[in-house]
């Protein structure tokens, strides 16, 4: 009873809290990083060095008036942010944050569930999130929102293909769809798949930027053109949901990248004997470290690159990344057969 019900519930609560706190502080981190890159200070007023700024933001969003546009489809308008947020959160169900932990005599797996089609689960759940964006834009009954949602969904669908193709190469290397199995395969091979599949890793990174609508692919919410994209008409708590979902998605793709390409909870080079002291650091710490590294790359890219034009974005996706990813699959298959 404890292992079947209580333990998963506890883990779910832990993960949810951790994700929400992380989101809050990722926002602060983003503002700080942006500021430092632009030689500014960033938020400084709330708490020392603005450390309490996220709390203030949350408070503001909670108390703000929630406006529903007059001719909006209210039902859908309300449901859309939830449809976005829920898949982003349930995707964490199959992410292995750590190896097996032993606590109070119990062996606790370092994840909520180990589904044998875990990777496909992540992909399919991520696909559901698109509905939220489309419906949000459509139900707002606003041109800005509609155009933003169309752009966004087209972009998501396009880059989903390339990203899925890179995942196929990982599946081919690991021989399993299970997230835990993929990490164990990296342990068995002695190499992170990021080193074995640099091309796939690169495509995944670019695709992840586009999937999460991050700069330089933040076309759907391009402020200068579309005000705020699909969530132009949202405010207050519903806007907070979208906001949350976006950053939660960032964390999802970062954790997936960590699991697939960077060895998950494994210490670097676990089978190199003189580096074994790295194993003293617990697995969940390595996982956090890698995930934050990946997230930092997101922020870094945002501060560095200018935004793509829409046709350039599509051309990059369809004419470069997808063919490259398919080629990568073919080459990987050939090498698997020949080597």
């Amino acid at each position: 009873m404890v292992e079947a019900l209580i333990l998963p519930l506890v883990k779910i609560v832990i993960v949810l809290v951790a994700v929400l706190v992380t989101v809050m502080y990722i926002v602060l981190l983003e503002r700080k990083v942006q500021a430092w890159v632009q030689v500014r200070l960033g938020p400084m007023r709330v708490g020392p060095h603005g450390i309490l700024q996220p709390l203030a933001d949350v408070l503001k969003l909670f108390v703000k008036e929630d406006i529903t546009p007059a001719r909006a489809d209210k039902w859908v308008f309300t449901a859309a942010p939830i449809i976005v947020l829920v898949p982003a959160l349930i995707a964490f169900a199959v992410i292995p944050f750590a190896g097996d932990l032993t606590l109070f005599g119990l062996t606790i797996p370092g994840r909520i569930a180990d589904v044998n089609v875990g990777l496909l689960y992540v992909i399919s759940v991520a696909g559901i999130g698109i509905y939220g964006i489309i419906l949000g834009g459509w139900s707002s009954n606003s041109k800005w929102a509609l155009l933003g949602s169309l752009r966004s969904s087209a972009q998501l669908i396009s880059y989903e293909i390339a990203v899925t193709m890179t995942l196929v190469t990982v599946i081919m290397l690991a021989g399993t769809l299970s997230m835990v199995g993929i990490v164990q395969a990296q342990l068995a091979k002695g190499w992170w798949f990021g080193f074995m599949q640099p091309v796939a890793f690169f495509i995944y990174f670019v695709g992840a930027l586009a999937e999460t609508n991050r700069a330089p692919f933040d076309l759907p919410e391009a402020e200068q053109e579309l005000v705020a994209g699909f969530h132009t008409e949202y405010s207050g708590m519903r806007f907070a949901f979208y906001f949350l979902a976006e950053y939660a998605n960032m964390i999802v793709v970062s954790t997936v990248a960590t699991t697939l390409f960077l060895g998950g909870w494994l210490a670097p080079f676990p089978n190199v004997s003189w580096l074994s002291f790295l194993g003293l650091v617990p697995g969940w710490a390595w996982f956090m470290l890698k995930t934050f590294g990946f997230l930092y790359a997101f922020l870094w890219v945002r501060a560095t690159f200018p935004r793509y034009r829409y046709d350039q974005l599509m051309r990059l996706g369809w004419k470069w990344l997808i063919p490259l990813a398919i080629l990568n699959v073919v080459v990987t298959g050939l090498l698997k057969v020949l080597v």
Binding site: V76, S124, G127, W138, L146
Partner: protein
């Protein structure tokens, strides 16, 4: 017991959402009900020890096909209600009656146990992704290839149809 509860909940949701799909006034709502219906069907698949199919159902149906429907619904920006015009010769009620009659007949056949399913033959492991893959790439290779050609043709056909001018 738990399985039965889960089944009846799932079945109720499936039929309920199905009914909503065919009765909803707004096409967009109809699409949303369809998605919900599919998700429930996916849950049913999980109960039937077909997790791969469940995931595929979500990924392809919910994540792909129904998005397409949604797009089309949004693009078909109708100026008048889509069901405004009704041909006097249509036999809708007769169709419903006939469908009900067929359902009753089938239900009779199933419920009275006249059609007995055969007993279990092989062994299906819970993790059957590998089995499906083997079947697809060995015994069903040619249907698989034909299906891929079908998809390619459908893709080209859809592009040709949807593009305003080539």
């Amino acid at each position: 017991m738990a399985e039965a509860v889960a089944f009846y909940i799932c079945a109720a949701l499936i039929l309920g959402f199905g009914a909503l799909v065919i009765t909803a006034k707004s096409t967009v709502h109809s699409v949303l009900y369809l998605v919900a219906d599919f998700l429930c069907v996916a849950a049913l698949y999980v109960m039937l020890q077909a997790p791969f199919l469940a995931v595929i159902q979500v990924m392809v149906y919910a994540g792909g096909i129904v998005v397409l429907y949604l797009f089309v619904v949004m693009l078909v920006n109708l100026k008048r209600p889509p069901e405004a015009h009704s041909d006097p010769r249509r036999l809708g009620r007769l169709g419903v009656a006939m469908a009900a009659a067929v359902l009753v007949e089938f239900a009779a056949i199933f419920a009275l146990g006249w059609a007995k399913p055969a007993s279990a033959g092989g062994a299906l492991s819970p993790n059957n992704v590998e089995q499906i893959g083997r079947a697809l790439y060995t015994d069903y290779l040619i249907p698989f290839e034909v299906a891929s050609v079908l998809l390619l043709v459908a893709m080209i056909g859809a592009i040709v149809l949807a593009k305003r001018e080539l």
